[in-house]
């Protein structure tokens, strides 16, 4: 459950990137955030992971009020939220297996658990046979699937994807979107920020359109990206 209540974000001095954002996302939803570059999609996602704080307004994630959360609690919040980015953000000096295991190591998971879970999640994204490959040896689509595997390793209730298909061709993009939908079917709330009309129209779920920092349209079923 995610709630934005009258959220406003201003980058000093006067650059208003979000205003009057009211949005409620129920558990298990698949929401596409659409809009042109600079419409405020990424900022909304960054506010959810507490990389940015809103200038004004209230945000709730899984019952946690992000305005009152302490800095040292932020890592625990982030373990509840998986994130995927356009530029993958993989560690080039680590193998596919190590990239995923890394996310577990830094949250003190026991070794047995790491050895059990990492192969499982790699199998889910279809990279079981590439576990010893380095990111440079993977295709764009494989890199993004690996990033998704890493995002899912903590079994988060929410997965945020910021332009995950931005660097991919059509076929790979479609693979990634299918994977996101599969994850959603397994019960994870997915929020996808994208400006790719084709992708958004293929998904055909809830679409929230942003323009110049405001929500201009919210289609709850079979939404389409209308410019």
């Amino acid at each position: 459950m995610i709630k934005f209540i009258n959220v406003k974000k201003v980058y000093p001095p006067h650059n208003v990137v979000l205003s009057e954002i009211d949005l409620e996302i129920k558990p298990g939803e698949f929401v596409s955030l659409v809009g042109m570059s600079g419409a405020g999609k990424s900022t909304m996602l960054k506010i959810l992971t507490r990389e940015e704080r809103p200038t004004f307004g209230k945000i709730e994630v899984e019952g946690i009020d992000l305005a009152t959360i302490k800095d040292r609690e932020v890592p625990y919040l982030r373990r509840k939220i998986g994130t995927v980015y356009q530029d993958f953000k993989l560690l080039s000096k680590k193998t596919a297996y190590e990239n995923v295991a890394f996310a577990m190591e830094v949250s003190d998971s026991p070794l047995e658990e790491i050895e059990r879970d990492v192969p499982q999640v790699l199998a889910i994204v279809g990279l079981a046979d590439k576990k010893d490959s380095f990111p440079d040896q993977l295709s764009g689509g494989e890199k993004q699937r690996l990033a998704i595997a890493r995002a899912m390793i903590h079994r988060p209730k929410i997965l945020l994807a910021d332009e995950p298909t931005g660097n991919l061709d059509l076929v790979n993009s479609y693979d990634v979107v299918k994977l996101l939908m599969k994850i959603n079917e397994l019960g994870t709330t997915v929020i996808l920020a994208s400006h790719d009309t084709n992708i958004v129209n293929t998904i055909g779920r809830r679409v929230v359109s942003l323009d110049k920092g405001k929500i201009v349209r919210d289609q709850s079923h079979n939404g389409r990206y209308v410019i």
Binding site: T49, R50, E51, D71, R72, V74, P75, Y76, L77, R78, R79, T83, K89, L90, L91, F102, A103, E105, V106, S107, D108, P110, R150, H154
Partner: protein
């Protein structure tokens, strides 16, 4: 938590090894800084020893006239001893002075013969005065000058030694203040260079830190390995500095002893080894960890 710590220390050690050149550079710079610290320590020791030796050699003497009685001399002596700045007063009687003189010139037959011809003792009684501090000699000389027994005091040697005394004095204060100033400036430079080197190694892993934050690593998990890494730089730097420093001191110590026999530099560092070794190691580890802590701070903003 034990598992946690093991992982943090293990990661720190891995980073230290994988960073190759940067680790080498940081350790080298810190080793230089620590050698500098050790050199300043020995320099401080040397100058204080030399100044102390010189100060020990300075004294003033009050020579009395021929007709001064022993009572008068002893009265002046006890007056002097009552002064807080006086360390010791040594009374040399006329007989003692003569005996000393004879002993000193025992080989010189001419002097021995001349002395034998005299009926009376030609030498005068004197007081040899040492002060606790070389800056006090002027005050003591002044005291003798104002004394009611001034009439029986022939001369006070201070006015002849004045130049040497003041030169030693200014040397000693100069070494203390300038040595401290130079030490502080050099320490500051060492900290800055170390800090910058560690910052460079952290910058090298900026991406890794960013990803750690994104996947929900706690701040201690991010900071820990870098603190360990910084501490390792410091530890190895201290080891290198000590291994390089002791043999050099051993060689230099010999040369110094031939100039100033009283000063045993190597002995000072061997005798103080139980203080010097932990100090240098702790200083190195502290320097490395503090530099890391400052350098990593910027990357921990949530």
């Amino acid at each position: 938590m034990a598992m946690n710590l093991k992982h943090i220390v293990g990661t720190g050690w891995t980073n230290f090894r994988r960073n190759g050149y940067l680790s080498f550079g940081a350790t080298g710079i810190m080793a230089l800084a620590l050698i500098l610290f050790l050199s300043l320590l020995s320099f401080q020791f040397l100058t204080s020893q030399v100044v102390a030796t010189l100060q020990d050699k300075i004294d003033i003497s009050a020579y009395f006239t021929q007709d001064a009685t022993e009572d008068q001399v002893l009265k002046v002596k006890s007056d002097l001893q009552a002064l807080p700045e006086v360390a010791s007063v040594n009374y040399i009687s006329r007989d003692q002075a003569l005996a000393d003189f004879k002993a000193r010139h025992a080989q010189d037959q001419l002097i021995q013969d001349s002395l034998a011809q005299l009926d009376t003792n030609p030498l005068t009684a004197s007081l040899n005065i040492k002060s606790k501090d070389s800056s006090q000699y002027a005050a003591i000389a002044q005291f003798l000058n104002d004394s009611k027994f001034k009439s029986v005091i022939d001369k006070v040697s201070f006015y002849e030694n004045k130049d040497v005394i003041s030169r030693v004095q200014s040397l000693s204060t100069g070494v203390k203040t300038w040595g401290l100033a130079v030490a502080l400036v050099l320490a500051l430079i060492a900290v800055l260079v170390t800090f910058n080197t560690v910052r460079l190694t952290i910058y090298n892993q900026k991406q890794e830190i960013e990803i750690m934050r994104l996947v929900g690593a706690s701040n201690w998990h991010i900071r820990g390995p870098y603190l360990v890494e910084g501490g390792l730089y410091g530890f190895f730097a201290a080891a290198i500095a000590l291994v390089a420093f002791y043999p050099v001191i051993y060689l230099v110590s010999d040369k110094i002893s031939s100039f100033v026999p009283q000063v045993n530099l190597f002995g000072f560092f061997i005798g103080g080894a139980f203080e010097v070794l932990p100090t240098v190691i702790l200083l190195g580890v502290f320097l490395g960890m503090a530099s890391s802590a400052i350098a990593i701070r910027k990357h921990l903003k949530i």
